[in-house]
């Protein structure tokens, strides 16, 4: 998989991301199933809206969390998420 600055990830068809108060986390819902997301996965997926490119997403996360060097972690997650079809790339 080739992730470049301009790769624009969005949620896969049939997937829905939402915050669940009772579980205290973001979850990804799909036909007859659910994945509980940890905080970083939730924060990344929240930004996979089909508008923002990878470089923007990384920059926004780094600003939001006052961190740097997040790109490898984001790329690694997106590779897994794409493989699981949670995310598709445009």
């Amino acid at each position: 998989m080739n992730l470049i600055d301009a790769s624009v990830p969005r949620l896969g068809h049939g997937f829905r991301l939402q915050w669940e108060e009772v579980q205290g986390c973001h979850v990804l819902l799909y036909p007859e199933g659910m994945v509980k997301l940890n905080q970083s996965a939730g924060e990344i997926l929240l930004r996979c809206d089909g508008q923002r490119g990878l470089a923007d997403i990384v920059a926004q996360l780094e600003t939001a969390f006052g961190a740097s060097g997040l790109r490898p972690e984001v790329e690694k997650f997106l590779e897994i998420a794409t493989h699981k079809r949670w995310v598709t790339l445009a």
């Binding site: 049939g14 829905r16 579980q23 819902l29 799909y30 036909p31 007859e32 659910m34």
Partner: protein, 377 residues
């Protein structure tokens, strides 16, 4: 910090709410999982009652909502219920045979926010042996398939597999592919309710199952990337119990058409257990405090050989309904397990199937008259 706040309950929330809207159904499937006495539970919840159930379930934390039956399309308030479920934030699933679906209804369900449809593929006639050659069935599924595609839903199919169709499993897979299915679940029959009544007709031989699995594997390789195929393990033949419902009262909450709240479709047949109705109690009280839901939670209720078994957390002793049906004791180890002292019962019925013993009793179709007859007295 409020020290007087009540402690959080140790039991997790129900994540899956299954609304069995009705037992009415235009089909007469001989493997139906609806209770055999369904004709004694015909007082269906009304629209307002279902709306309250949906709200209470969501407040408890349920995220997946399934609408099933019977045939849920016979309820003309289905669109209203789907719309409310969607508004509340559920992921909404409809489990249907497709009988009664029209392009107009499909569009209305889409507009109401329906996320997903699982289409069950079963014969719409009483002629079981015509299952595959019956062009009416195929034409119906084709029409329904086109309606689903038109609304942008993926085509997800479920086919119950049994001795009367298992020899045609390759053709079934091919047909699903021709219909444009993206996913097919080949569900080996589970022997409860009507399937238990008809077990001697439905149980395939060990040899048939092996062949069916090999053919499924071939098709899986051939259709890689086009259609996913899931083969549900047949527990009678494998000697391995399933972690039924992912644990009793763990994630699944089923509401029967008359409002009885159950840990699974069939639990109401277990003697000595009471399951409150949503007409009398809130879902919260039912889920956390009722005897019915607490009885088989966790592992505390187990007997030997489960108590000292290394697999007890993995399969939670298997299915309570199956334990009752096969060992007349809902707290026994599931007799499909090779470690169960009652396993011989399962081996015996599989041996009868393997030997080709012709069932003495005729097939019993799922209909109202048979339901009343089976539950008489």
């Amino acid at each position: 910090m409020n020290l007087l706040a009540p402690l959080a309950p140790a039991v997790g929330p129900p994540l899956w709410l299954l609304a069995e809207l009705t037992y009415r159904c235009p089909l007469h499937c001989i493997f139906c999982y609806n209770p055999t006495d369904f004709a004694r539970h015909e007082s269906e919840l009304g629209t307002d009652e279902w709306l309250r159930v949906l709200r209470e379930g969501r407040a408890l934390g349920a995220v997946q909502c399934g609408f099933s039956g019977g045939e849920p399309l016979v309820r003309d308030d289905l669109e209203v219920l789907v719309a409310e479920a969607h508004r509340l934030g559920y992921y909404t699933n409809l489990l249907t045979s497709g009988v009664g679906l029209t392009p107009e209804r499909a569009a209305a369900l889409k507009a109401a926010g329906l996320d997903h449809i699982q289409l069950s593929f079963q014969d719409s006639t009483r002629e079981v042996n015509d299952f595959l050659s019956h062009t009416k069935t195929f034409a119906l599924k084709q029409r329904v398939g086109e309606m689903l595609k038109a609304q942008g839903w993926p085509m997800v199919m479920n086919v119950v597999i049994h001795r009367l169709n298992i020899e045609h499993i390759g053709r079934i897979i091919e047909m699903a592919h021709e219909l444009g299915a993206e996913y097919i679940e080949l569900a080996n029959t589970q022997y409860y309710s009507w399937a238990e009544v008809n077990r001697a007709h439905l149980l395939p031989t060990t040899e048939q199952l092996k062949r069916a699995e090999a053919i499924t594997d071939e098709w899986r390789a051939r259709l890689e990337g086009q259609m996913k195929i899931f083969f549900v393990a047949p527990d009678y033949h494998e000697g391995k119990p399933k972690k039924c419902m992912n644990g009793w009262g763990n994630v699944f909450l089923t509401i029967a058409p008359d409002g009885a709240a159950l840990p699974c479709h069939t639990a109401r047949m277990l003697p000595g257990l009471t399951f409150p109705s949503v007409r009398e109690k809130s879902l919260k009280e039912i889920w956390y405090d009722s005897d019915g839901f607490n009885r088989f939670r966790g592992t505390g209720w187990m007997k030997e050989p489960c108590v000292s078994c290394a697999h007890k957390e993995e399969d939670l002793g298997g299915c309570r309904c199956q334990a009752y049906l096969l060992a007349q004791d809902a707290a026994a180890a599931d007799p499909v397990c090779v470690r169960s002292p009652h396993h011989a019962v399962v081996k015996y019925v599989v041996a009868l199937a393997d030997a080709g013993v012709v069932p003495a009793k005729p097939i019993v179709f799922r209909d109202r008259a048979n339901s009343l007859r089976l539950s008489a007295g």
